[in-house]
Amino acid sequence: MAPVNISRVSKDYASGARAVSDVSLDIADGEFIVLVGPSGCGKSTLLRMVAGLETITEGTVAIGDRIVNDVDPANRDIAMVFQNYALYPHMTVKRNMAYGLTNRKMAKSEIDRRVAEASAILRLDDYLDRKPRQLSGGQRQRVAMGRAIVREPACFLFDEPLSNLDAKLRVDMRGEIKQLQRRLGTTSIYVTHDQMEAMTLADRLVVLNLGRIEQVGTPLDVFRNPASLFVASFIGSPEMNLFDAEGDGNGALRVGAMTIAHGHDRPVSGKVKIGIRPHHLMPAENGSAHGELAVTHVEELGTERLIHGTLEGQRCTLAVAAGYPAAERMGVSLNSAELHLFDGSTGRRL
């Protein structure tokens, strides 16, 4: 159990490509941090630098109060759960879990105790003598976690552990991981490309793009106050609507022929982008409507309905209750309290 400090870390590959760019992050002891972003954003590279599986080109990584840049992975007091489990195919489940401890010359009684405990928590008691190839995907993933748990490390590292599982299993395992971490209180760094997973698991979320941190914050924070266009469109499902707009400098925004008042405390002029989530658009009667939506298609989700179309020529999605009738043209109004404004050129939040 220890804090992890990542300070101004960068990673360059021999080909010249820069995978991670000047990233700094302070992770508190016991915190569950999720690194999230699209493929190629550097999240896995960052995780692997903490693990010691990639060299660090610039910057330092400290686990506890020790800088570990030059320390072997086996000596960093970390445990890792891999995307494809990485179980030793020729060892039984039991030996897979015990292996790391055996190498550290731990007393057999202690090893047995830890393995039994982890096995109980993860419900692996019936599988201890089996080999990995005899287990299902979900079982293998639990063995991989068991291997990490028995180490009682300062920090857990998860590299997209649920990506190889089917959807339902993924949801189940998500909950298990969260509860497990709460129970053990170990600092955890978790990498995923699935923003839903990120939102549900994280104490704090780190959104990465092209090797840089876009935003760090609690899930709710990042959801409600995205710091950039990228974060706004990446976090939240269904995706946030984004419109090109023009501020008149007088408290109004123009989207095509539509005019909306914005609640921003400073005058806004010039090109901006407006973001508003589908749930914050409402169908409205002609009088109170801001504009008209030309409907293209409707998605039925059971719990609600997503109506897709164009508003002033730009794509727009509106979320309504399950039975709400959709017409070819619908009036919509925007909840101006829920407007997000982004600079037209930099994409950063205004």
Binding site: G52, A74, M80, F82, Y88, G100, N103
Partner: protein, 293 residues
């Protein structure tokens, strides 16, 4: 096995015919002949042959000469196999481990595969030559007066050296391929679980290489027993008299030089049984082989 197949007509037979024809004429027929003539003694004047039952076999197996050759073959096989495998494994592990220049090393280490055994043999003659061979000079430096071609043991050592030199590249290729097919994440997990590289090798890498290793074991034994014919033939410079030879070479000698058809055939059959046993053993092993993925 959800194999989709075509219905049969004459077509599959047509496709199969060339292969079957060739193996019947050039495999089964000779093999049957070998077995048949092993039970006969050819009349020296060419008037026919007499059935002698197992006499050829007993003569061969109890013969001093045969036993000497068999002993040498056994030693030769064990040493060549062991050295070729061990050296190749060492090189493969290092080549896999090294970050830079891996592909250059790979090329430099594998090309000898293309050298024919007799060509390797003639290089061996050069290097072990009485007058100008550098290896002879090297041995002399340590006080060892090597007489390859005259002294039995010296010749044996020369043959072993050449055979190992020729075989290491093949093993290297397979070991390297085997190493690289171990999933990367398993190796990374081992990096995290185990500090000592040696321990990692013996508890994780080596067991996972076992299937490749077993396969190579059989290949190497076959090589040492049979493919070294060229090496033996060249390095004994056609004077097998006092020189070490392998069992397969003796089959050739007795059959083609000694005109002992019966004896040579009997020896062939003995070798056949040996190879059969080896291959059955190998396939049994592969059947029980653990499929790891």
């Amino acid at each position: 096995m959800k194999r989709v197949v075509f219905g049969h007509s004459w077509l599959p037979y047509a496709f199969l015919l060339p292969q079957m024809a060739i193996i019947v004429v050039f495999f089964y027929w000779p093999a049957a002949e070998a077995v048949r003539s092993s039970f006969y003694l050819e009349d020296p004047f060419g008037f026919g042959s007499t059935f002698v039952g197992l006499e050829n076999y007993t003569t061969a197996l109890t013969g001093n000469e045969y036993q000497r050759v068999a002993r040498f073959t056994a030693w030769f096989t064990v040493i060549v196999t062991f050295l070729s495998l061990a050296l190749a494994l060492l090189l493969a592990v290092k080549a896999d481990h090294v970050l830079r220049g891996a592909s250059t090393y790979k090329t430099l280490l594998m090309w000898v595969y293309a050298v024919a055994p007799p060509v390797a043999g003639i290089l061996g003659i050069l290097f072990f030559d009485q007058h100008i061979g550098p290896l002879v000079d090297l041995a002399a430096f340590f006080g060892w007066d090597m007489k390859v071609g005259v002294n039995y043991n010296d010749t044996a050592i020369a043959m072993i050296t050449v055979s190992v030199w020729k075989q290491v590249p093949v093993n290297f290729i397979f070991f390297l391929s085997g190493l690289q097919s171990i999933p990367r994440s398993v190796r990374e997990a081992a990096l995290i679980d185990c500090q000592s590289a040696t321990r990692r090798f013996f508890t994780v890498t080596f067991p996972l290489l076992a299937p490749t290793g077993f396969f190579l074991l059989i290949i190497n034994i076959t090589y040492a027993l049979f493919d070294t014919f060229g090496v033996v033939d060249i390095m004994t410079k056609n004077e097998p008299a006092n020189n070490p030879v392998t069992l397969v070479y003796k089959v050739y000698l007795d059959g083609f030089r000694g005109n002992d058809l019966g004896g040579s055939s009997a020896q062939s059959v003995i070798l056949m049984v040996l190879v059969l046993a080896l291959t059955v053993f190998q396939f049994r092993l592969i059947e029980r082989r653990v499929h790891y993925t």
